[in-house]
């Protein structure tokens, strides 16, 4: 794929904001494509890992709506192999957070899943997988995905219907509240 670069902005405000959010060391990228060569989902991607980096360097904000943000599996192969110590995985995490904060529309169910997951951690402290699945299905109306596996999973004891929550809910609620507060006051 060819990336068309437009505009004169190099390492401008957007690139700086992304670097601050991700600590990905993105201005060190040499475009050697080692990240893309080893990326397990590069073949599916609208933007390949090295292209994501280049577009951010050039201040192109449309990366925030790239499908790649929610296709990257966070496998860290790119970060491990990069000769310049750039982490596309960290870059993607930063872009995901920025994309969600900017309420960028996405077809992926991953942001919804993340919200449900973090709410469950706050309330229960430990994930109860059956409850997590149920909440996700109700929220996304994907009621029938994987339903065929349910009897088998129950039979094999893989989906206990009850599991203990971790103690200390009130302390956890405070921990989450302090994290949220700190995020707001961050410069």
């Amino acid at each position: 794929m060819t990336v068309t670069l437009s505009g004169p902005e190099i390492a401008g405000d957007f690139a700086a904001a992304v670097e601050q959010e991700s600590h990905a060391n993105l201005m060190a990228c040499l475009q050697c494509k080692k990240c893309t060569s080893g990326c397990p989902v590069a073949a599916l991607a609208d933007l390949k890992p090295h292209e994501m980096v280049r577009k951010v360097q050039f201040g192109q904000r449309d990366v925030l709506s790239s499908k790649m943000l929610w296709q990257c599996t966070s496998c860290l192969t790119c970060a491990t192999r990069c000769p310049q110590k750039v982490s596309v995985a960290a870059l993607n995490d930063g872009l995901r957070r920025m994309s969600v904060a900017a309420q960028t529309p996405s077809k992926s169910a991953a942001p919804t899943f993340n919200r449900i997951f973090m709410k469950a951690v706050r309330k229960r402290g430990r994930m109860h997988e059956a409850l997590l699945m149920a909440a996700f299905k109700l929220r996304t109306l994907r009621l029938f995905d994987d339903m065929g596996k349910l009897p088998m999973m129950l039979g094999k004891g893989k989906l206990p219907l009850w599991s203990a929550a971790a103690p200390g809910r009130r302390e956890r609620e405070r921990l989450f509240a302090r994290a949220a507060q700190m995020k707001e006051t961050k410069p």
Partner: protein, 288 residues
Amino acid sequence: MSYAFFPGCSMAGTAHDYQKSALAVSKALGLELPEIPGWICCGSTSAHQTDQLLALALPAKSLSAAAGQTVAVGCAACYHRLKAANWEIAQSAEVRQTVAAVVGRDYDGQTEVLHLLEIMARDIGLHKIAAAVKKPLTGLKLVTYYGCLLARPSDVNRFDDPENPTLMDQVLAAAGASVLAWPHKTECCGAGYSITDVAIVQRLTREILAMAKAAGADCIATACPLCQMNLDLRQADTERASGERFGLPVFYFTQLLGLAFGLSRKELGLKSLVVSPHKLLADHGIAI
């Protein structure tokens, strides 16, 4: 020998057979694994994708409860998140201070975290494992699958060689298995999308299963609940989608070790495996 055990949510749920077999094998090796009291979820992928601060504070809360001890982990994702929190907190006073303000308690990032494979191969030692073997896994051809987050990123995890880890190979070879060479030890199974994007998972697991088959393996050994689930629970779907037949049982390495130690199927939770291992084990005279 005693380590503070961080089970993580999967070992307490879908991967209860991993937990069962890990505890049984540890007991046979004289390793005690009392749980960290009040441990909480590491936050996994969802935390680092949504909130950098919580991604550090959640592990820090559990790790500070085990200060002064060494923590044992079975799940590769928990392992990496605990290690990443230690790494970030230990190398920046500012991060340490911020995390302490969120957790409500200072944590120095110094609680050592080890995966069960590291403990068994290095701390307990291969000679002790070999000495505990009663029914060697002779003739069982397997490939070891480490997935992403044990070996990567190598500077943070310090687990083993990031491109060709061998700890699981060594442990299972000590139990008498024939561990085959193959190139997909650390390829990604797409675990993070197991629920939200099954198409990605099927695409990636297909590659792994096909390569294991091509390498001549009878079965796959894993050391992570998410890797195991994607390769085992979704194997039939992957076969249907690609039109291939794999029929590869996917064990936890602790189940294979347990079989070599002469533990029963029940003690090792073999019933919970989706691709049945019984014919394979019977053919090799391993099952009890």
